[in-house]
């Protein structure tokens, strides 16, 4: 196949919050910037974010970035890098106010300032009491953010390649990243995008799980591309689960339902949270509720023919309250659970929601990997931001509203670093290595020539079930071990998928097969990293690492206060230390994480 070349100063893959924020930095500095995206920018998954974006503006009550930093370190169960966390929390006000200037319609106080509301885990005065830190635009925060950033990019002449799928990184023998190969869906044409800076902002890979709140688009393409190019993935064992996704569908039922009095029940109708969290009951934190639900299911008290979900009951609430205060919940339940929650409880299961790990970066957005004796050497020409990246600010567990902040802060800083690097370089573009392009082409053409290929849909389902059953909310040594063998077997099938439709124009079967190539890398990385980490920390909770006096919550700082790095080649693992030294303030010392 013939491959055309297009040359830019910078190419960004992804047009969600992180990609658009990075693109703006580059275009406004006058660099020739391309953004490649599988879907129209304002169809990116960032649109789904409703809760808001965190910033210690202090508009509603006293607040400070240092308190926000403390909450984030604690939330991360001390696995977050404290330099990056300080950087993010200090920059929060700046990036949120910038966004306001770009036209983001934030909710306002009577005095005209950005209105702020409380959100789980965000506290004042180093964990004392909840603080109002989340800035929102009604229930469309992510949507409004993308619109503001997109308009601004259009003005800055960012060049968009919409409905293009990036396939592989182009990396030369010296390890420098020189761009990406991409497929135009409309024509089936392959193009090599050559750039001095390549920024990945491809979002998360939540679709590796059977039950996921993520839209179908979240297939971890950036992670797959990085892994194939020899770049490790960091802390992939850490996934945040939301306790209440609709069983079988994944659609998120907000915490607000339990806030309004919703009760979780097992097959006997028992309000089981009373046993696990006698005070907070159904309103305990996400991880506590999720684990309680899984314990009920594992001990045979689940509901339904397969006893594999529990029930969220709001039938005792006044129908008026349901209609007025929980709009949308009734419709979601009718559409996806087939039950009207006014009359019958909603079947729910803990559901994969957010990926804490990703492509390792520093707080300047440069992708870093081990080289010689150093663990964090910048990969020349390569940057990443947003959910696909691991800076690492979320560590073992993310606080709500910190992700949108991550997009803005690290999107911007990746952009800034790339601008500096491109402007510094006096050299012309390097030649593109033909072998890298060939490998990418082969991956596409294999699909057309594969004999007796495995079915894409079936292979994906096998992967999702394996992840759900062996590497879910609550993890068991034997299950993980078995999970490693099983996921490697699924990987064999993925390597020989075939497609029946060979057409060129909008061949969605081909796109889905190529996406599965990426998902499986993430799934394998997750399973292997999780099996190896023999402690409980944040979202990674093992049955064989329980809460003890020596190891509160099962956390083992002596052996496991370190980041995992998984390498595709040989499924090798390596570890690097957590950065415990912030930029200007003293270290936030290790403590038991308790709320």
């Amino acid at each position: 196949m013939k491959v055309t070349k297009r040359t830019f100063d910078a190419v960004i893959v992804g047009a969600g919050g992180a990609g658009l924020r990075a693109a703006l930095q580059l275009s406004e500095s006058g660099l020739k910037t391309a953004v490649i995206t599988k879907v129209f920018p304002t169809r990116s998954h960032t649109v789904a974010a409703q809760g808001g974006v965190a910033a210690s503006l202090g508009n509603s009550e006293e607040d400070h970035w240092h308190w926000h930093m403390y909450d984030t370190v604690k939330g991360s169960d001390w696995l977050g890098d404290q330099d990056a966390i300080e950087f993010m929390c200090r920059k929060a006000n700046e990036v949120v106010i910038e966004l306001e200037h770009y036209g983001m319609p934030f909710d306002r106080t009577d005095a005209g300032k950005i209105y702020q509301r409380p959100f789980g885990g965000h506290m004042s005065n180093f964990g004392e009491k909840p603080v109002r830190r989340s800035c929102a635009a009604a229930d469309r925060t992510g949507h409004a953010m993308l619109h503001a950033l997109y308009q601004r990019n259009v003005r800055a002449n960012t060049q968009f390649f919409v409905e293009w799928m990036a396939l592989d990184l182009i990396r030369d023998a010296e390890g420098e990243v020189l761009g990406v190969t991409a497929l135009e869906m409309e024509t089936g044409e392959m193009v090599a995008f050559q750039a001095k800076a390549t920024i990945f902002a491809t979002g998360g890979a939540g679709r590796i799980y059977y039950s996921s709140t993520n839209a179908f688009i979240n297939t971890g393409d950036g992670l797959g591309m990085a892994a194939r190019a020899g770049i490790p993935l960091e802390d992939m064992e850490f996934w945040q689960f939301h306790p209440t996704g609709v069983a079988g569908a994944g659609v998120l039922i907000t915490e607000g339902v339990r806030g309004e009095g919703g009760i979780l029940r097992n097959d006997k109708g028992e309000r089981f949270m009373e046993r696990y969290a006698p005070n907070a009951k159904d309103l305990a934190s996400r991880d506590v509720v999720s684990r309680a639900m899984v314990t009920e299911i594992n001990e045979g008290r689940g509901c339904g023919p397969n006893k594999d979900f529990v029930l969220l009951d709001i039938t005792h609430l006044d129908p008026q309250v349901i209609m007025q205060r929980l709009p949308g919940i009734r419709e979601i339940s009718i559409q996806f659970a087939g039950t009207d929650p006014i009359k019958e409880p909603i079947p729910v299961v803990p559901t994969c929601h957010y990926q804490m790990g990703g492509i390792p970066t520093n707080y300047g957005g440069q992708v870093v990997a081990p080289r010689a004796s150093s663990m964090n050497v910048a990969v020349p020409g390569f940057y990443a931001a947003g959910e696909c990246a691991c800076a690492s600010v979320h560590g073992a567990n993310r606080l709500g509203t910190n992700s949108l902040l991550d997009l803005l802060v690290f999107g911007k800083s990746a952009g800034e670093t790339a601008v500096e690097d491109v402007k510094k370089s006096t050299r012309a573009h390097k030649d593109l290595p033909q072998e890298a392009i060939e490998r990418s082409l082969e991956r596409v053409s294999r699909l057309d020539t594969q004999k007796d290929g495995a079915d894409v849909h079936e292979a994906r389902l096998a992967m999702q079930r394996t992840m759900q059953n062996h590497c879910g909310v609550f993890r068991f040594a034997d299950k993980l071990k078995e999970g490693v063998a099983n996921i490697l077997a699924v990987q064999q099938d993925v390597q020989r998928t075939g497609i029946k439709d060979k057409s060129k124009v909008f061949n969605t079967a081909r796109v889905e097969a190529l996406e599965l190539d990426n998902l499986i890398e993430v799934a394998v990385a997750t399973m292997i990293s999780a099996e190896a980490r023999k402690e409980s920390r944040g979202a990674h909770v093992r049955d064989d690492a329980p809460d003890t006096a020596e190891k509160p919550n099962g956390r083992d700082d002596q052996n496991w206060l370190k980041h995992t790095l998984w390498f595709k080649e040989g499924n090798r693992l390596d570890y690097k230390s957590v950065k415990l030294t912030p930029l200007t303030v003293p270290t936030i010392e290790l403590k038991k994480r308790a709320y």
Binding site: K38, V39, T42, R43, S44, H45, T46, V47, A48, R140, H143, E163, M185, E186, S212, T213, N214, A215, F216, I217, A249, G250, V251, L252, P327, G328, E331, I332, I334, Q335, F336, G338, S503, V505, F506, N507, T508, V511
Partner: protein, 82 residues
């Protein structure tokens, strides 16, 4: 199926990839029911719906907003759970 019609349907399927999981699932259900058996008028209605913003489209499906356009109304009915 002629190539032009096939391409139109495949494009439409891709445009049913959304930012909201709710919509992904709804469209998935629709496509698994109809397969390639989509009449031109339905394809046209779908094309108009997928051009909408995700939240607006979901509001329409949930009945939080309404349309008096018969073409869209019919399609929305079919997208909802029977």
């Amino acid at each position: 199926m002629d190539e032009e019609r096939g391409a139109r349907l495949r494009r439409l399927r891709w445009h049913c990839r959304r930012a909201l999981l709710e919509l992904d699932l709804m469209f998935q259900r629709y496509w698994s029911r109809v397969g390639d058996d989509v009449e031109a008028a339905d394809a046209a209605a779908l094309e108009r719906l997928v051009a909408m913003e995700d939240h607006d489209l979901w509001d329409l499906v949930c009945g939080r907003t309404e349309t008096d356009d018969p073409q869209l109304m019919g399609m929305i009915e079919r997208l909802r759970q029977e």
